[in-house]
């Protein structure tokens, strides 16, 4: 896999596995405002997310947490009326600058969606797709990466005998882990998860959470969730969004036991939302 390290800054070349130098702020939003047409959906968001941590975004429906998540890999670009102000820095680089290569950015910032959305192809091809579109031709290498990715996504043992079968034959939980494997295959450093377990049964959910715990050693993970227990189980830090504003952001333990804002307290204690 030939990954260019164009996003590397301050001598840090994590993807190439050379000099590992801790960058504290992996993702940083500075005064981000976002609009759908005239609808002001994100208001003055300031947040800094550290490397190799799990951050949970919580808040009632329509509070802007998914929109904010999608600004981080520019998935909102496809919405014609979407418009963003402010800066989003990933490893110190503003990702909304004109010359930014969006494809490269998305390769670096993977995304897992609410509903498992595997491609209508074989299990193998689902994982190999990312490599193929980025120009990898070496069959051996592709096979290797597919296996590694499936192992990392804790799916290899369940699918190793049916790699040539359709991804749609898998259960919902397996499909979601396949989507994670597909993301891992292009070697991202950040993984965005938009309610990844909300369409899954409790056992599959537990597996995804376990997986998140393992992945955080090597990846920075942001997870949007409606499930407060899930947020408290998997995340190091939690951000509470309400009406387009980032109300509170801090250590998960603090947010859940000792929130500083009244709104946060009301929300996590189930008084609204």
């Amino acid at each position: 896999m030939v990954l260019q390290c164009t996003f590397a800054i301050s001598g840090r070349k994590k993807l190439c596995g050379k000099t590992e130098q801790k960058v504290m702020k992996h993702i940083e939003a500075i005064d981000v405002n976002a609009y759908y047409g005239d609808n002001h959906v994100l208001k003055n968001i300031d947040i800094a997310i550290k490397e190799n941590t799990v951050t949970a975004f919580i808040g009632p429906s329509g509070c802007g947490k998914s929109t904010f998540l999608r600004t981080l890999n520019r998935m909102n670009d496809y919405i014609d009326v979407f418009h963003l102000e402010g800066k989003v820095l990933v490893e110190g680089n503003d990702i909304y600058k004109k010359k930014v290569n969006v494809e490269e950015l998305r390769q670096k910032i993977g995304m897992v969606f609410q509903k498992p959305n595997p491609f209508p192809k074989t299990i193998f091809e689902n994982v190999a797709y990312g490599l193929r579109i980025h120009g990898e031709k070496d069959k051996k290498k592709i096979e290797e990466v597919v296996e590694q990715s499936l192992v990392k996504a804790a799916l290899w043992n369940e699918v190793k005998d049916k790699l040539k079968k359709s991804a749609f034959g898998l259960s919902g939980g397996q499909q979601q882990r396949l989507c994670i494997a597909r993301t891992l295959a292009v070697e991202p450093s950040i993984i965005l998860m938009d309610e990844p377990a909300s369409a899954l049964d409790p056992i599959s959910t537990a597996k995804i959470e376990e997986l998140i715990n393992e992945l955080k050693q090597n990846y920075t993970i942001i997870i949007v969730t409606h499930n407060m227990q899930q947020a408290s189980r998997v995340s190091d830090r939690t951000a509470f969004f309400y009406m387009g504003e980032l109300v509170e952001f801090g250590k998960t333990a603090d947010i859940f036991t000792n929130p500083t804002k009244k709104q946060t307290e009301n929300y996590i204690s189930g008084r609204f939302g």
Partner: protein, 285 residues
């Protein structure tokens, strides 16, 4: 209680009306096909397919007509399919959703309903005279291509619309470009629908007569076209020519040619169904 009874009676009545309507359509079709078969079937033999047209009905064949139809179909397909599918992809996947695209959309839908003879006039002026193609196969193919373009564009767009957005997002999210997403994910998923549109539009092109008459296609062509610049006739024109003659023998010829035309249509639709099923097996939903 009586209300319930009434509802059930309405339910039953509607079912009967539905059956009657369906049967009416079927009956008409059976009468039509039966009639044609009785008239024309005994006329079809190898000579009928391989003979040139002649003044004597019993010696006439449809060689020039079906070769002309084959030429026209092939040329029209080559012109219309790339244009129509590409335009459909642009409008659906690339075009911003604003007032201009909305207007284009409405206009395309309207174009699909414009009488075909108008396309004939357009073809005569633009392809026949301006581009100096005369009454050649190429002029005819261009005219028919323009005629079926709206159908193709609409069918392509509908097929693309049916592809779930989650598929696009999945592809974009691992760093695929728009074109890679279209080529590797969306087109394969929409292929069955696009193919159906293609075949339907080609069937339409095959049956068109009016625009070809306008551009000056001949009813009597004593040779098989050898190049796209040759003059030509097609099956529907040959049929039209024969059925407008007073002699009974020519009517029989017309019926026989209709059978061949229907046969080609059925074969094309059959191929469409076959291809679509095969396609759907490859896409692993």
């Amino acid at each position: 209680m009586s209300n319930l009874k009434r509802n059930r009676r309405i339910d039953k009545a509607f079912k009967l009306v539905g059956i009657a309507c369906t049967l009416f359509g079927l009956l008409m079709l059976v009468i039509f096909i039966g009639n044609i078969l009785v008239d024309g079937l005994q006329r079809i033999d190898w000579d009928f397919l391989t003979n040139l047209p002649s003044r004597k009905a019993e010696k006439s064949g449809i060689l020039t007509a079906w070769t002309g139809t084959a030429w026209i179909l092939a040329l029209t397909a080559m012109i219309a399919i790339p244009l129509g599918v590409a335009a459909g992809i642009y409008l659906e996947e690339y075009g911003k959703k604003n007032r201009i695209t909305a207007m284009v959309e409405v206009n395309i839908a309207n174009l699909a309903g414009v009488p075909s003879i108008i396309y004939g006039l357009l073809g005569l002026e633009v392809f026949g005279r301006l581009m100096n193609l005369g009454a050649s196969l190429l002029a005819g193919a261009f005219t028919l291509a323009i005629l079926i373009l709206p159908i193709l564009i609409v069918a392509t767009r509908e097929a693309l619309k049916a592809v779930p957005n989650s598929l696009r997002e999945a592809s974009y999210a691992i760093g695929a470009t728009k074109w890679q997403t279209i080529w590797h994910q969306i087109l394969p998923a929409a292929g069955g629908g696009i193919l159906t549109g293609v075949i339907l539009s080609m069937s339409r092109a095959m049956g068109e007569t009016a625009p070809l008459i306008v551009i000056g296609a001949l009813a009597y062509v004593p040779f098989v076209p050898k190049s796209p610049m040759d003059e030509f006739t097609v099956l529907p024109m040959q049929i039209f020519n024969w059925v407008s003659r007073p002699q009974h023998e020519f009517l029989v010829n017309g019926a026989a040619a209709i059978i061949i035309l229907l046969l080609i249509t059925f074969i094309m639709n059959g191929i469409a169904v076959y291809l679509r099923n095969k396609w759907q097996k490859k896409i692993m939903w």
